[in-house]
């Protein structure tokens, strides 16, 4: 049952991409900024989870929550310090700042604790169970449950709460939302908090599943999640989920066919093709540029 096994590999990888992609897409949807520091928030989440598991000896769920809390605060601080005053500047200024923030986080981390990698503790001591001849790891199951649960909670927040309504309103038309008495600043802070918390959770899950974490680990998953967000249609929440899962499956398929060295290349080729032929992605709306 090699293919079933590969399917599970792909979905697990895709779920991690999807969680990171959600943060990209939410931030883009509301401030039209590609937050390149997002991959580094993911890295910080992985480290908070690591220290919480090994130094504070908390369990998995408390560590996950702690990591999400810390990264959401970091996300809000990044927006407040680096992006807020650039909100009305040209987009390239904000984009350059985002890259600057990314480097700042990476190298502050290296300065603080050196570049050496850490190994996540093995919480499930390799427990497995068999299903249809394929062996599942308990981690893979946890990843799926946590990822799906977080996505359901996110959907609920966006569609059934006041803040979610505010987010949708600001994303639709920030000026009109302001006239209606919605605090745009606070709504944007909330968006960063939610997106960063998801990245933090993805960091902890990544650590559990792939073991090795280091200060530069956010780079490639960050870029891949960006591709996933574009694939699904940047700005669209269901698009980010589907895009993430699809990208994970495609990458796994490429490796499974024996072209493992082409894996990253294929991901970036997908990005180029989408930008060329389907710039709004799978779920994106074709909105006319406002004049």
């Amino acid at each position: 049952m090699e293919w079933l096994q590969q399917l599970i590999n792909g979905i697990s990888l895709g779920a991690i991409y999807a969680l990171i992609a959600l943060g990209y897409t939410m931030v883009y949807g509301i401030v039209k900024l590609i937050n390149f520091a997002h991959g580094d928030v993911f890295m910080l989440g992985a480290f908070v989870g690591f220290y919480s598991l090994t130094v504070l000896h908390l369990g998995l769920i408390p560590s996950l929550l702690l990591s999400m809390a810390v990264t959401s605060v970091i996300g809000v601080v990044i927006e407040r310090v680096a992006y807020r005053r650039l909100r009305n500047s040209p987009r390239v200024a904000a984009l350059t700042t985002a890259i600057g923030v990314s480097f700042f986080i990476e190298y502050t981390m290296i300065f603080a604790r050196s570049a050496k990698p850490e190994a996540y503790p093995d919480l499930f001591s390799g427990q497995q169970f068999e299903l249809f001849g394929a062996s599942f790891r308990v981690e893979a199951l946890y990843i799926l449950i946590i990822a799906v649960l977080l996505m359901i909670i996110l959907q609920w927040i966006v569609h059934s709460t006041k803040i979610g309504k505010a987010m949708r309103a600001v994303s639709y038309d920030a000026e009109a939302a302001r006239l209606m008495g919605i605090s745009v600043d606070r709504t944007i802070s909330w968006t960063f908090a939610l997106g960063s918390a998801l990245a933090g959770a993805a960091g902890v899950i990544f650590g559990l599943y792939y073991t090795r974490i280091d200060p530069l680990m956010g780079l490639i998953p960050g870029l891949k999640a960006f591709i996933a967000a574009v694939l699904g249609g940047i700005g669209s929440i269901p698009g980010a989920m589907v895009g993430g899962l699809l990208l994970g499956l495609v990458e796994t398929l490429v490796s499974a066919l024996g072209f493992s060295l082409m894996r990253d290349a294929v991901a970036f080729i997908i990005l180029i093709l989408i930008l060329l032929f389907l710039p709004t992605g799978l779920f994106g709306k074709n909105v006319r540029e406002k004049v």
């Binding site: 990698p117 497995q128 790891r137 792939y210 090795r212 680990m217 490639i220 499974a256 493992s260």
Partner: protein, 390 residues
């Protein structure tokens, strides 16, 4: 009273001076009987731990030789300098050792680059250089012309040899008939090992059933491993560095691959155990220059002497530094004097010399032909499995 004081001071001064004088003259007359050996090592900088272990090993060997009366009555006198892990500094140190200190031979440096920085000087001044641990081919052989550098030698085996030994061990000891190779294609080291493994394994009659590759910093090997599993190899060769190998082993065991997994000295790090998990590492092996658990009395004597002198377990660099000095001492003895050219000629003719890292002979390319140690991982501990002769 005052005169007395001046007189006393004068006496002290003269005594001091004459003491210095005798000390100095003792040194210079001594050097006529001594054989000067330069140490050009990385004692500071980014690979300081390699250089320091190597220097410690070489100094221990020199002390032992001197304690036994030296070489034909002549003592080894070590002149030690730090090249600060820098190739141009290594050239400066070598120049100083050859021109000012007029050493008979140089031991160093620990890395290939810093050793290569001495090639031209060694040819120009006709002073032999023995590197304990420089593994690159081009240290002893000119890559362009294929000519051997006449004064460059080393005490360690070169990279491709590890692949050959692994193939021999897989086929003969583990009884593997089919093998899979999983290579880090971003590393020349890993590619070299993989190529020599493939050649040796197929020459023996084994079959390579799967060849896959990864690049440095990859974290997801599951899909490739799942694919490899369906090829059902008896044995998997992963000649990479511990950072990725640790994850590969963990993910392989989780994917249900139980076949033995083996690699080269790039595995030698405690981080490997952290990444892979002690249990997953069972039934994995790697080739290395030496094991401190080797029951061979030569190894055990060395380990004990090293621990007594430095208070810690000797690593591979220390063992090879120690062997480099003995290799050189043997050549000096056969050369009959401290004459550099004669020593170089004698080094090239080294045959079946028993050292801590194995019995070695120097081949036509100035590389030693010697055994490699096979280390088996048992519950996260490195244990000595066997020695494989080429």
């Amino acid at each position: 009273m005052r005169k007395l004081l001046i007189f006393a001071m004068a006496v002290v001064l003269v005594a001091g001076l004459s003491a210095c004088g005798t000390g100095g003259s003792g040194g210079s007359t001594g050097s006529a009987d001594n054989i000067k050996v330069g140490l050009n090592m990385e004692l500071s900088g980014n690979v300081a731990s390699y250089g320091e272990s190597g220097a410690n090993g070489a100094i221990l060997a020199a002390d032992e030789i001197n304690a036994k009366g030296g070489i034909d009555g002549k003592k080894i006198e070590i002149v030690k300098f730090d090249n600060r892990s820098d190739a141009s500094e290594s050239t400066n140190v070598a120049l100083r050792l050859m021109q000012q200190d007029k050493v008979s031979a140089i031991i160093g440096a620990a890395t290939s680059n810093n050793t290569k920085a001495m090639i031209d000087l060694s040819t120009e001044h006709k002073v032999p250089v023995v590197s304990p641990t420089a593994t690159a081919d081009s240290v002893t052989v000119d890559e362009k012309t294929g000519k051997v550098h006449p004064y460059m030698f080393r005490a360690c085996f070169i990279d491709p040899f590890q692949g050959q030994v692994a193939a021999q061990f897989a086929y003969d000891d583990l009884g593997a008939k089919t093998a899979a190779i999983y290579t880090d294609t971003s590393s020349d080291y890993a590619k070299g090992l993989a190529a020599s493994f493939k050649k040796a394994f197929t020459e023996k009659g084994g079959k390579i059933v799967s060849e896959e590759s990864y690049v440095q910093n990859d974290t997801d090997f599951r899909s490739t491993l799942t694919r490899m599993k369906s090829a059902n190899p008896d044995y998997i060769y992963v000649p990479g560095y511990y950072n990725e190998v640790g994850l590969i082993i963990k993910q392989a065991r989780e994917a249900g691959i139980t076949a033995p997994i083996m690699g080269g000295d790039g595995w030698d790090s405690p981080t490997l155990v952290e990444l892979a998990g002690a249990e997953n590492l069972n039934n994995t092996f790697f080739t290395n220059h030496y094991s401190s658990q080797d029951p061979d009395p030569k190894v055990q004597d060395f380990v004990k002497a090293y621990k007594d002198k430095y208070g810690k377990e000797p690593d591979g660099f220390a063992a090879l530094g120690y062997d480099a000095m003995y290799l050189l001492a043997d050549a000096i003895k056969r050369a009959g004097s401290g004459d550099s050219e004669k020593i170089a000629a004698a080094l090239a003719e080294t045959k079946n010399l028993g050292l801590a890292t194995g019995t070695i002979s120097i081949d036509e390319y100035h590389n030693p032909v010697k055994a490699a140690a096979i280390i088996e991982m048992k519950n996260g501990e490195q244990t000595f499995r066997t020695k494989v002769n080429p």
